[in-house]
């Protein structure tokens, strides 16, 4: 076998092996998307009921709570960025990091100091490499987040927002995550969790917009209910964001791996054509060598006969 042909054969083998791996990863991601989507929908009854309750307290009582009123002069904001632990997901992580950077820039232009909290190794690595300060980070659960993980993430954020700004607390809480729109579309978005915008909360509960909320009797009191409710609300929003992020990441992985598999297939086709051409050239050469050799031999014997 000629040297050229051997090189082609070797490359085809290696690309085939890579293709098998990416194909497997694509299939794993596809099954995980479905699982993650199911988790998103399983968590929605709780989130909906909680949103309803928050809206009810917010509109049904005149209580002023530190978590619902905007500070006159906000000076510090916390940004929670959700990325994934692993790459191989196309532009998934860079999109959400970019969105977080834009948000940070905007907040800084408004004169606010920004504390960054990060979930996922990718985001942490990105910030560490640029030697930017991270207030706190978590990793290890981005593929399948549980409610306990969301609680763990929410705890320091709630603590920071409850602290007075002078003691290192924050006035605002923003979250940047990748919204799962459909299998094909996932968009990195940022939203403000606290202080609460009640109009926005109301809009989220969709068709119930025209519904008049009943006058609730609060047990033990409106303040206490709000006190207990808001941390849960933050946790549930973070949980939902984590789940959507996970679903988006799997969808992005699936897409990236699908195009990798397609590219590998194309590469194999091109390489096999080149290998075939090389083989054919080799055969042609061999034939002409044999013919040439035979005729030279014939010429030589014809010459010696005389």
């Amino acid at each position: 076998m000629g040297a050229q042909l051997r090189v082609y054969k070797r490359r085809i083998r290696s690309v085939t092996a890579t293709k098998k791996i990416t194909k497997a990863m694509e299939m794993i991601a596809a099954s995980r998307v479905v699982k993650a989507m199911r988790k998103v929908s399983a968590s929605s009854p709780y989130a909906e009921e909680l949103t309803r309750a928050v809206t009810a307290v917010g509109t049904g009582s005149n209580t002023k709570h530190s978590l619902t009123t905007e500070s006159d002069n906000p000076t510090r904001a916390a940004v929670l960025l959700l990325t994934s632990d692993r790459g191989l997901a196309g532009a998934f992580n860079s999109n959400s990091i970019k969105a977080a950077e834009q948000l940070t820039e905007r907040l800084e232009r408004e004169g606010k100091q920004v504390d960054t909290y990060i979930v996922g190794r990718r985001g942490v690595a990105h910030y560490n490499f640029r030697e930017r300060k991270i207030a706190e980070s978590w990793s290890g659960f981005t593929d399948e987040p549980t409610y306990a993980d969301a609680k763990q993430v929410a705890a320091p954020l709630i603590e920071a927002i409850e602290k007075p700004t002078a003691d290192g607390g924050v006035d605002e809480l923003h979250i940047v995550y990748t919204e799962f729109v459909s299998m094909m579309t996932q968009t990195a978005i940022d939203s403000r969790l606290l202080p609460l915008r009640l109009e926005e909360v109301g809009e989220k509960s969709e068709q119930k917009k025209d519904e008049i909320l009943p006058l609730y009797d609060f047990e033990p009191s409106a303040e206490d209910v709000l006190d207990a409710l808001l941390p849960r609300y933050v946790e549930s929003r973070i949980y939902n964001a984590l789940l959507q992020s996970a679903a988006s990441k799997h969808a992005a992985t699936r897409r990236a791996m699908k195009s990798a598999t397609d590219n590998a297939g194309e590469l194999i086709n091109t390489l096999s054509r080149l290998a075939n051409a090389a083989r054919q050239a080799e055969i042609t050469q061999e034939i002409s060598e044999i013919v040439g050799g035979a005729s030279a031999l014939a010429d030589a014997t014809a010459g010696s006969d005389k």
Partner: protein, 124 residues
């Protein structure tokens, strides 16, 4: 007046139980509260404890609820909890083991969780 109310018991990651009931008893921070159809709209903070739901066909559903909220309006009652389990879902041996472990470690919240689970099972 409707003689039954619609109950939704939801945990953070799933819907635990939903159906029609005639009476729901839950423990709020200011004491046990019983809700029957036609009750005044209510929003309360729940303590960890068993919740008793008397369904319209006379059966009793007991669930262990760890913190959360009760909200009632228009004969629709929702119980929100971070963790909620029906009594038949609770693994008694596991809860007992957890109770032992929590006691030896003096982990108050884990001990309370395990106790609530066992109480919910024993209430049957």
């Amino acid at each position: 007046m409707a003689a039954e109310l619609h109950v939704e018991l939801v945990a953070a990651d799933r819907k635990v139980w939903s159906g029609e009931a005639t009476l729901v008893v839950a423990r709020t921070t200011s004491g046990d509260i019983g809700v029957m159809p036609g009750h005044q709209p209510l929003l309360g903070v729940l303590e960890s404890g068993p919740v008793t739901i008397r369904t319209s066909d006379g059966a009793t559903v007991i669930a262990a609820v760890h913190g959360g909220f009760i909200s009632f309006a228009d004969d629709k009652l929702s119980l929100l909890a971070e963790i909620a389990e029906l009594s038949e879902e609770i693994d008694v041996q596991r809860a007992e083991r957890a109770l032992e472990r929590a006691k030896s470690k003096a982990d108050a919240s884990a001990e309370r969780r395990a106790e609530v689970r066992l109480r919910a099972v024993n209430a049957h």
